[in-house]
């Protein structure tokens, strides 16, 4: 381990961000924004640096996270257990995720500098300045921690900060509602997680990740844990049956926050699944793979099908986030099913690669949508239009982002999708092949969705918004977009670099047999040829374009509408409603199915549970205890363990009951919150 970064320096971003959220309250509104933003920028750069170092040196060792040690020791006094600190470590996987986090947070922090200013006077910028670094910190901590409790704490911290950020526009009822829906569902998820983790650590007798590697479960527990973990993380990842919070929550948050949410927060679930299920616990990869890939393809198809019928730019993107997460899980699930076949390795690595890519272009797209909101104040695709000429940078980055997410070569989206598809297709596993075929369809749907976004936002005639006084977004926002856009191109053209990163990350967590290899990077050199050819083609066409405009006599004409001028109505062409109506009516059964489910399952549940939990406070005071519980429970736990150690036979009888008690306790909370959260289905 010849790393230039000692493991404790890994914590510098954390300290930095903490500093940020401590000092910003004492500053003025705008000053606090500047400070916290710049601090987060610094932190993000640090993260990127750390991740690169870590990846080059194959991970950093284990260290102690001192800050919470005090608390834990206090508890240890109370419960008479030996003092304890939380361990952090950075291995290839964490490094990869840190890289993604670093990039997205960098962009969104830069973007936030001027974007959040539109809330001056409306909302408290201090609040934002405190929450934003906290949010980053929680996510970062989540990635680096190697301890169950720290994991839970940062997980809860992330959820709650995210909640406040989503509900940032307090005046906006819709936003608050969406935020609550998110809060409840993610709370429900996390309580499942807590149960799972409690069981795990009770069995392993330690909360340290390294300790978890050794545990073995009897089948029932094994599958219970699997189910709990998948649902728990699935809610955060918004996999399809558990997705309903995302399309409401992401659009309502400030755009750079939406970028972070879609760009990274939902990816933490990906991280969690990988980390726990088969790195630590080595669960039955086949069953797990089947579940994940099935959920994945379901989300991919559902998300895109919903995306193409949206008329709200950010909702459209939110749905496509569901779809892309689906893609990622399809890759990962495939990777698990095909284990130990080398194809699985590719699929898994590609899944990770797609995580990074999606973080980049979805972040980018949300930022462009934010740009539109910033200038026109609208995200309604019916009223937008014709902004290409007045907002060239936003438009160009939107174009690149859309092409990238549609998986158009030579941009980054293509390679990861392609590398997910191939192994599944040629694996010969019928289900995976079918899934891959559907995935091709899903990517076509994505294309359609984002062409709609481009067309209605940038190209065709402006509808209700007057583009006359619209200007390009201010510099910081533009910079952020340019950063991500150029990354889309670079990571596309030099796709082997991130793919190597991903594959090394996979390589040092599970070992695939390299017996049956069809794709190696050497085989991909022809792809490079094609990409070079494409880039060349684009350059040549650029030259041609320049040449034509220079050489030919060029005439500007009004758009040809068959010779009518004065008679024309304000709204020409299609509005967002009109897009893909024919497709919808041809393949209507999909949408019909959805509405059936909604009518038969969701509505009754809502009716039945609306009387529970009317207001927001009810939930918070259901909520807070568990966050505390998460912190309190650990020493409690060790206490049980200690007892257990000393009175072994007694433990034999005692542990299960304790488990039962805690599980029951949590279950009650879960049910209560679940009923509550169902209320907010109403707002789908």
């Amino acid at each position: 381990m010849n790393s230039t970064v000692t493991v404790n320096e890994v914590l510098y971003p954390v300290y930095l961000l903490m500093l940020g959220c401590f000092i910003s309250p004492v500053l003025g509104e705008v000053a606090s924004l500047y400070v916290s933003s710049s601090i987060s920028i610094g932190a993000s750069i640090l993260m990127i640096y750390i991740s690169i170092i870590a990846m080059t040196s194959g991970g950093l060792g284990v260290g102690e996270f001192q800050l919470l040690t005090g608390i834990s020791s206090a508890f240890s006094e109370v419960f008479r257990v030996s003092s304890y600190g939380f361990e952090v470590s950075v291995d290839g996987l964490s490094a990869f995720f840190i890289f993604a986090l670093g990039i997205v947070s960098l962009a969104s922090s830069i973007y936030g500098i001027s974007y959040i200013k539109r809330y001056v006077g409306l909302e408290s910028l201090r609040f934002y300045s405190v929450l934003y670094p906290l949010f980053l910190m929680s996510m970062y901590l989540l990635i680096i921690c190697s301890d169950v409790i720290l994991f839970i704490i940062s997980w809860e911290l992330m959820s709650i900060t995210a909640f406040f950020l989503i509900a940032f526009e307090k005046a906006n009822k819709v936003a608050v509602k969406a935020a609550l829906k998110y809060l409840l569902m993610s709370y429900f998820g996390s309580s499942l997680l807590i149960i799972a983790l409690v069981i795990i650590s009770s069995i392993s007798g330690s909360t340290n990740f390294t300790a978890l590697r050794t545990v073995v479960f009897e089948p029932t527990v094994h599958y219970l844990i699997m189910a709990l973990i998948i649902v728990g993380f699935g809610i955060k990842a918004a996999l399809v049956p558990m997705h309903s919070w995302l399309p409401d929550a992401h659009p309502e948050a400030p755009s750079n926050i939406s970028a972070l949410l879609s760009g990274f927060m939902i990816k933490t679930a990906v991280y969690g699944v990988i980390r726990f299920t088969f790195i630590l616990l080595g669960l039955n990869h086949y069953a797990l793979g089947l579940m994940l890939s099935s959920l994945g393809i379901a989300s991919a198809i559902y998300g895109t099908l919903m995306a193409i019928i949206q008329i709200d730019s950010k909702k459209l993107m939110a749905y496509s986030s569901i779809a892309q997460i689906g893609y990622i899980f399809l890759g990962i699930g495939g990777g698990l099913i095909l284990y130990p076949n080398y194809l699985g390795f590719i699929a898994l690595a590609a899944g990770l690669f797609h995580t990074l890519n999606h973080a980049i272009f979805k972040g980018l797209l949300f930022l462009t949508a934010g740009g539109l909101i910033y200038r026109t104040g609208s995200r309604d695709l019916n009223s937008l239009g014709g902004l290409a000429k007045v907002m060239p940078i936003t438009y160009t980055s939107g174009l690149i982002g859309s092409l990238a997410i549609s998986g158009m070569p030579p941009l980054n989206g293509f390679v990861s999708k392609w590398l997910i598809l191939i192994p599944l297709l040629i694996s010969g596993h019928p289900m995976l092949v079918l899934y891959a075929a559907l995935a091709i369809f899903a990517s076509a749907l994505t294309t359609a969705a984002f062409v709609k976004y481009l067309a209605r936002a940038f190209f065709s005639s402006p509808k209700n918004v007057s583009v006359g006084n619209v200007k390009e977004v201010p510099l910081p926002m533009a910079l952020a977009m340019i950063l991500l856009a150029s990354l889309c191109v670079v990571l596309g053209l030099f796709f082997y670099i991130p793919f190597n990163m991903a594959s090394s990350a996979v390589a040092n967590m599970i070992t695939y047999s390299v017996s049956y290899t069809t794709i190696t990077l050497q085989d991909l050199t022809p792809v490079l040829y094609v990409f070079t050819l494409l880039t060349l083609g684009i350059f040549i066409s650029a030259f041609i374009a320049v040449y034509l405009t220079a050489s030919h006599k060029l005439r500007l004409t009004p758009v040809w509408t068959f010779g009518t001028k004065d008679l024309l109505p304000k709204t020409l062409g299609l509005n967002a409603h009109s897009y893909y109506r024919e497709f919808g009516s041809t393949y209507s059964f999909v949408y019909v199915l959805r509405s059936y489910v909604y009518e038969l399952v969701v509505r009754p549940l809502c009716k039945w549970s609306t009387k529970l939990a009317r207001s927001y406070y009810d939930f918070v005071d259901i909520y807070l205890p568990t966050t505390l519980a998460a912190i309190v429970i650990k020493p409690l736990w060790r206490w049980f363990i200690g007892l257990g150690r000393s009175y072994y036979d007694w433990v034999e009888t005692y542990l299960p009951t304790v488990l039962a008690v805690i599980t029951a306790l949590l279950l009650i909370l879960i049910i209560a919150s679940y009923l509550g959260c169902v209320v907010w289905f109403l707002s789908t």
Binding site: F562, G563, P569, L572, L574, H577, R581, E582
Partner: protein, 549 residues
């Protein structure tokens, strides 16, 4: 006379005075205040179908303005012309659009061209006159010289009616589909049309005024022929019949037969042309080409019989100019036989194409009730289950002597409109054969065709597109006092409002074409611009220069 008796009985006490003009058409005078009731009675009890409104500045005849509302009483085989006399100073009359939707345009046109004010009209926008035409200048009033060109001032502006958040697509004035400048504004939801806004008369050239001012009786036929770009002969015949009727000229049998003959030939080539265009609109260019291939011999036939492919220039008041020779009769029979075979093969091939049939069926629905209310004519009416055909309801020329059936469909959609035309082609062929084998001898032009002053003539002809109507009031110095033309398309276009509703965008062009619109007829425009020059052959070289890049 029982027809007249019946009409008078039903309109008890409302008719101040009546007259029977040519071929048994009845013209009655009613008081302006009774008009709306009279119209209601006519439509409801006599089953009259609106045909046209003739406005007339008759101040030099009897010192009043005339508004003549013409209804076709198909059951009684007569036209009923309801005349109201209006004060010369402030001519104004109640609108009857509430009773017959079809009258909408007629009233607006009368308002525009004669300044006859129409009270509580549902849509009092300008129809004929262009934007910026000065307000109280009415071209058809006698004091308006046909050569004056008033100064345009852009105070008046045409305002389309549309709901606030409508999403619209402009069709025309210069659309690849429309071969003449017309503006349709399709209001769409997705690919479905939910409303349409029409703006026409871009090219009005005031032929009526020209006829009233400069031309003599025997010159007008040549102008009338150029009212329409395809079926000009019907106007030509219709005008001559009106004059002949007005002045009681006896047209020789043979002339009548020749007229019918040419009319049917015209119908043939017009329908085949339409079929071709329809195929093209359906994206089936092969059908387009073959339809026109089949049409070509018929054009040559017309050329051989009359001396020109399109502008036959055959009619004069009192007969025709050119006789049909023996050998050409044989030729016609021969060609027709071949065309019939080709044609039936064409139709078989066309109806075998699933996608084409699918697109035709169920698009562009025009329910029967609407059809009656709009007073649509010709194939459009027959496709909506109205069995009306001027050749049967008001026989003219030689049609009383031939037997043929009137194809009627109740599908009310584009398919039925197509099928009606398809069958009519067969009917026309048989009609032509019948005419030819009982072609009588004798002269072809009436001797001493004298036209007395101030007689009214009214005549109608079944054009390929439907009922074409001419009204004349003869005048001094062998010139008409008033000549009113109403082309079939004039009554059919307003019905597009109904047809285009809920019609897929892809089929909107087809639906517009399904009335076989002849905008130039509607606008009464001459579309001839023959730039001729000194006699020289276009050399290959000269041509090659301009032809290749």
């Amino acid at each position: 006379m029982d027809v007249v008796g019946r009409i008078l009985k039903i309109l008890e006490g409302k008719v101040s005075n009546y007259k029977v003009i040519n071929s048994g058409n009845v013209i009655i005078d009613v008081r302006a205040e009774d008009l709306v009731d009279v119209v209601r009675i006519i439509t409801e009890e006599l089953g009259g179908i609106y045909s046209v409104i003739v406005g007339n500045d008759a101040r030099r005849v009897d010192g009043t303005f005339h508004n003549i509302y013409v209804f076709s009483l198909d059951s009684l085989k007569t036209y009923l012309l309801v005349r109201v006399r209006l004060s010369p100073e402030e001519p104004s009359v109640q609108s009857i659009t509430s009773v017959v939707k079809g009258a909408n345009w007629g009233e607006r046109e009368v308002r525009d061209l004669l300044g006859i004010n129409v009270l509580n009209h549902p849509d009092p926008r300008r129809l004929v006159l262009p934007d910026g035409w000065p307000d109280n200048v009415n071209p058809l009033r006698k004091e308006f010289n046909y050569q004056t060109r008033p100064q345009l001032n852009c105070s008046t502006q045409y305002t389309p009616i549309r709901s606030e958040d409508v999403v619209a697509l402009p069709y025309g004035p210069y659309h690849p589909l429309l071969h003449e400048p017309e503006y349709f504004e399709l209001h769409i939801k997705g690919e479905t049309v939910v409303g349409v806004e029409y703006r026409g008369f871009h090219v009005h050239r005031g032929i009526e005024k020209l006829g009233e001012s400069r031309l003599t009786y025997n010159q007008i036929p040549f102008v009338a022929e150029r009212i329409c770009g395809i079926c000009g002969f019907v106007h030509n015949v219709c005008y001559c019949q009106a004059i002949e009727g007005a002045s009681g000229i006896e047209v020789p049998e043979r002339a009548l037969y020749i007229r019918s003959l040419i009319l049917e030939i015209e119908r043939l080539h017009s329908h085949l042309l339409w079929l071709g265009v329809a195929c093209h609109i359906l994206g089936f260019d092969t059908g387009f080409m073959h339809a026109w291939r089949i049409r070509e011999p018929i054009m040559n036939l017309a050329e051989a019989l009359t001396g020109n492919r399109k502008n036959y220039g055959l009619n004069l008041v009192g007969g025709v100019r050119r006789d049909v020779s023996k050998d050409s009769v044989g030729k016609v029979i021969k060609i027709l036989k071949n065309v019939r075979d080709e044609y039936s093969r064409f139709i078989k091939g066309l109806t075998a194409l699933k996608e084409v049939v699918k697109r035709l069926e169920g698009s562009g629905i025009l329910p029967k009730a609407e059809a009656v209310s709009y007073g649509v004519v010709g194939p459009v009416a027959r496709a909506s289950g109205l069995k009306r055909d001027v050749r049967v309801d008001h026989p003219y020329a030689a049609y009383k002597d031939v037997s043929f059936k009137v194809p009627t469909y109740s599908g009310c959609d584009n398919m039925s409109r197509l099928m009606v035309r398809v069958e009519e082609v067969y009917e026309s062929m048989s009609i032509i054969e019948q005419l030819l084998d009982r072609l009588p001898g004798g002269p072809i032009l009436a001797e001493n065709a004298e036209v007395p002053e101030y007689r009214e003539g009214f005549s109608s002809v079944e054009a390929p597109r439907g009922e074409d109507v001419h009204y004349v009031l003869t005048g001094k110095y062998s010139k008409v006092y008033r000549w009113k033309v109403r082309a079939p398309t004039y009554n059919n276009i307003p019905a597009l409002n109904v047809m285009l509703h809920e019609c897929p965008l892809s089929d909107a062009p087809l639906t517009i074409a399904s009335i076989d619109p002849c905008f130039s007829c509607t606008d009464r425009l001459i579309v001839v611009d023959v730039r001729s020059g000194k006699r020289f052959k276009v050399g290959l070289k000269a041509l090659a220069k301009g032809w290749r890049p």
